[in-house]
Amino acid sequence: MTEYVILSAILFTIGAVGVLVRRNALVVFMCVELMLNACNLAFVAFARQHGNLDGQVAAFFVMVVAAAEVVVGLAIIMTIFRARRSASVDDASLLRY
């Protein structure tokens, strides 16, 4: 049981570090997915431990939201890439003070 939670924590940490340190939007995006899935793992693990289905239902919701997010997110990234010939998140920094 503990192993699942540790794995989930490790995956989440890798995802979070990836979001913070990588510039490529696609990689950042993948890291976000990694974090979501780490959460899913934790949900399922705890659901199993406690013997009720709430966590598993939550995992399904996360997947649906992640799928929708991927559709919108990839479309934005594609448009930005076409316009700027770059997928770096640091280049798209016009919305500032």
Partner: protein, 643 residues
């Protein structure tokens, strides 16, 4: 202190309704008011006849006044107080003010003085203002003044009196500043207006106090309620009324505006600032006798103010080289005499009014004479540029001489009777006040003789290109009439007529106890006057008069030339502290109030500017801050749950 009348003996104003010719009293006010409206609204269409229309309305008022006077004389003495209710002015809850005219011996004497002297001055102005392009407007203002002054004296209610009071203030302001292209005239008009406001504040506070204390402001109601009121209330009302009277009548400490008011055209100085408006303060005090009789402290204050003013004005008159300002100082001083008599109570009221009337005659006469001299001297007012004019201006000289003899109190002339009576009453009150009044008479004789000598006698000192000439008939006829009145004004006192006539209004007092017999006192007064005349002759008449005023003069002369530092005192005590207070308030407003508001806004603005810097546009830094936030929240939850 003169013994007061017992409360029951103070006449209560209890008028009966008007009938017959007396019911036309409203026309007294309406005629000049209509004239003024026609002249001021009619504009240029009335230019050709405006001056005659203005004179005609004033004269018509006078004729009506005489008719009413005759009708009043035909009634029994205790039935001469008639009121005419015109309409209800205010009707708010318990507070009722009706527009009501009160025709009684006191107001009617004023009506005759105002319209009589006023008509003569209108007539004189036809000639004096002949070459002024704005003559029609001048007559419009003069008519407005006459209407307002009649409203003041005829009102049967303090609120109505206040209406006239403000009306004459307005007319005075407009006429002092009539030659508004001169900065000095505009400044003088403003000064008069502002100083009068100070006095008006006193009067309006007095009226409010009456309303609070008595619930009414009508003379009838107040005179009835006064006997039941506390002395403190009456003293407060009396002193507040005195403040109003000081403003209008140029009494110390609100005297400063009168000398500057001489910037107006000379007929204005004669009508408003000598004969009528400035005496409104005396009218107010005599009219309010039912209050002053019960407030001896207020009476004492009136006497003190009056004595200070009568000496103050006389001293100023001694040093002025401007003929109109010398006469203005004399006006101040003479009104001081009237105030003195009014402050002495029942013994003096009738004499205050008597002196007011004779003063109206001789001072109007002398002011118009001074205008005639100025007319001859190309509007030069400096007496040091006159001299020896008696041969060239014979009519002006002779009429002026009548006024002069009247004011110094030459036996037989009107001023002799009226001033003599006031000094007598003053001695009856206390020797000190009597001596001050006696000294004032001596100084009056001195400065008037000086004025007379410098203008009509001594060497000719004018420039060669000045050609003095006698004024036209339209100007000399009023002078002759007024000169005759200056001589004959004393007939009013024959057999004590004026005292008897006014008795229903102001009450009657036995003749005062004098330290010496009355005839001896009269001789003493005449001797003091003779000393004043002789001194003036020694110091002015027998010596060369320099064309420019000598500068190496004594402190007293310098002080008198500077109006006894009246303006400097006002400046130090009121104007500069006031200005400093204003500056302080402005500083407080812009520093503290605005500072707090603006500082707060600036602080928020700066904070926002700093917070704005957090918006870098880098997604990864946002992500980092979200992460840090999450960690902080989780740690906080852990800490709370563990604790």
């Amino acid at each position: 202190m003169t013994p007061l009348l017992a409360a029951a003996e103070i006449p209560v104003v209890a008028p009966v309704a008007a009938d017959g010719v007396l019911a036309w009293a409203w026309l007294l006010v309406a005629l000049p008011l209509a004239g003024s409206v026609i002249l001021l609204v009619g504009g240029r269409f009335t230019d050709s006849f405006g001056h005659w229309l203005g004179t005609a309305t004033a004269a018509a008022s006078f004729v009506l006044g005489v008719t009413i006077f005759v009708a009043l004389l035909g009634r029994p003495a205790d039935d001469r107080s008639i009121s005419q209710h015109l309409w209800t002015w205010f009707d708010v809850g318990d507070f009722q003010v009706s527009m009501e005219l009160l025709v009684d011996p006191l107001s009617l004497l004023f009506v005759l003085l105002i319209t009589g002297v006023g008509s003569l001055i209108h007539l004189y102005s036809v000639g004096y203002m002949a070459h002024d392009p704005r003559r029609r407007r001048f007559f419009g203002y003069l008519n407005l003044f006459v209407a307002a002054m009649l409203m003041l004296v005829l009102a049967g209610d303090y609120v109505g009196l206040f209406l006239g009071w403000e009306g004459v203030g307005l007319a005075s302001y407009l006429l002092i500043g009539f030659w508004q292209h001169k900065p000095s005239a505009a400044a003088a008009a403003k000064k008069a207006f502002v100083m009068n406001r100070v006095g008006d504040m006193g009067l309006s506070l007095a009226i409010m106090t009456m309303f609070v204390a008595f619930g009414t402001t009508a003379y009838a109601g107040v005179s009835e309620a006064a006997s039941g009121a506390s002395e403190a209330t009456l003293t407060a009302i009396g002193i507040l009324l005195l403040v109003g009277a000081c403003g209008k009548s140029a009494q110390v400490p609100l005297q400063g505006w009168l000398l500057d008011a001489m910037e107006g055209p000379t007929p204005v100085s004669a009508l408003i600032h000598a004969a009528t408006m400035v005496t409104a303060g005396v009218y107010l005090i005599v009219r309010s006798n039912f209050i002053y009789e019960l407030a001896p402290t207020a009476q004492t204050v009136v006497v003190v103010v009056a004595v200070v003013t009568l000496l103050w004005g006389a001293i100023i008159g001694c040093a002025k080289d401007d003929i109109k300002k010398a006469l203005a100082g004399s006006t101040m001083s003479q009104i001081g005499y009237m105030m003195l008599a009014a402050g002495l109570g029942v013994a003096g009221y009738a004499f205050a009014i008597f002196h007011l009337i004779t003063h109206g005659f001789f001072k109007a006469n002398m002011f118009l004479g001074a205008g005639s001299v100025m007319h001859a001297m190309d509007d030069d007012v400096d007496m040091r540029h006159y001299g020896g004019l008696r041969k060239l201006l014979p009519v002006t000289f002779l009429t002026f001489a009548f006024g002069y003899l009247a004011i110094i109190g030459f036996p037989g002339f009107s001023g002799f009777w009226s001033k003599d009576l006031i000094i007598e009453v003053a001695f009856g009150h206390s020797t000190l006040v009597g001596l001050a009044a006696l000294l004032g008479a001596g100084i009056t004789a001195f400065y008037m003789t000086r004025l007379m000598l410098m203008t009509f006698f001594t060497d000719r000192r004018w420039e060669p290109d000045v050609h003095p000439h006698e004024s036209p008939k339209v100007m000399t006829i009023p002078l002759i009439v007024l000169a005759a009145l200056s001589l004959l004004g004393g007939v009013l006192v024959i057999g004590g007529w004026i005292g008897d006539f006014l008795e229903p209004v102001v009450g009657h007092a036995p003749h005062p106890e004098l330290p010496v017999p009355a005839i001896v006192l009269t001789l003493i007064i005449t001797a003091v006057v003779a000393v004043g005349v002789a001194l003036a002759w020694l110091l002015v008449g027998r010596q060369e008069v320099p064309r420019t005023a000598p500068q190496d003069v004594s402190f007293a002369t310098r002080a008198a030339r500077a109006d006894l530092y009246g303006d400097a005192i006002n400046d130090t005590l009121v104007v500069r502290p006031g200005a400093a207070l204003t500056r302080g308030l402005v500083g407080f407003d812009s520093g503290v109030v605005d500072g707090a508001i603006e500082g707060g806004a600036r602080g928020i603005g700066g904070l926002s500017g700093a917070l704005r810097m957090l918006q870098t546009g880098y997604v990864r830094s946002y992500a980092l801050s979200i992460l840090v936030g999450v960690i902080v929240v989780v740690l906080a939850l852990l800490v709370v749950n563990w604790a």
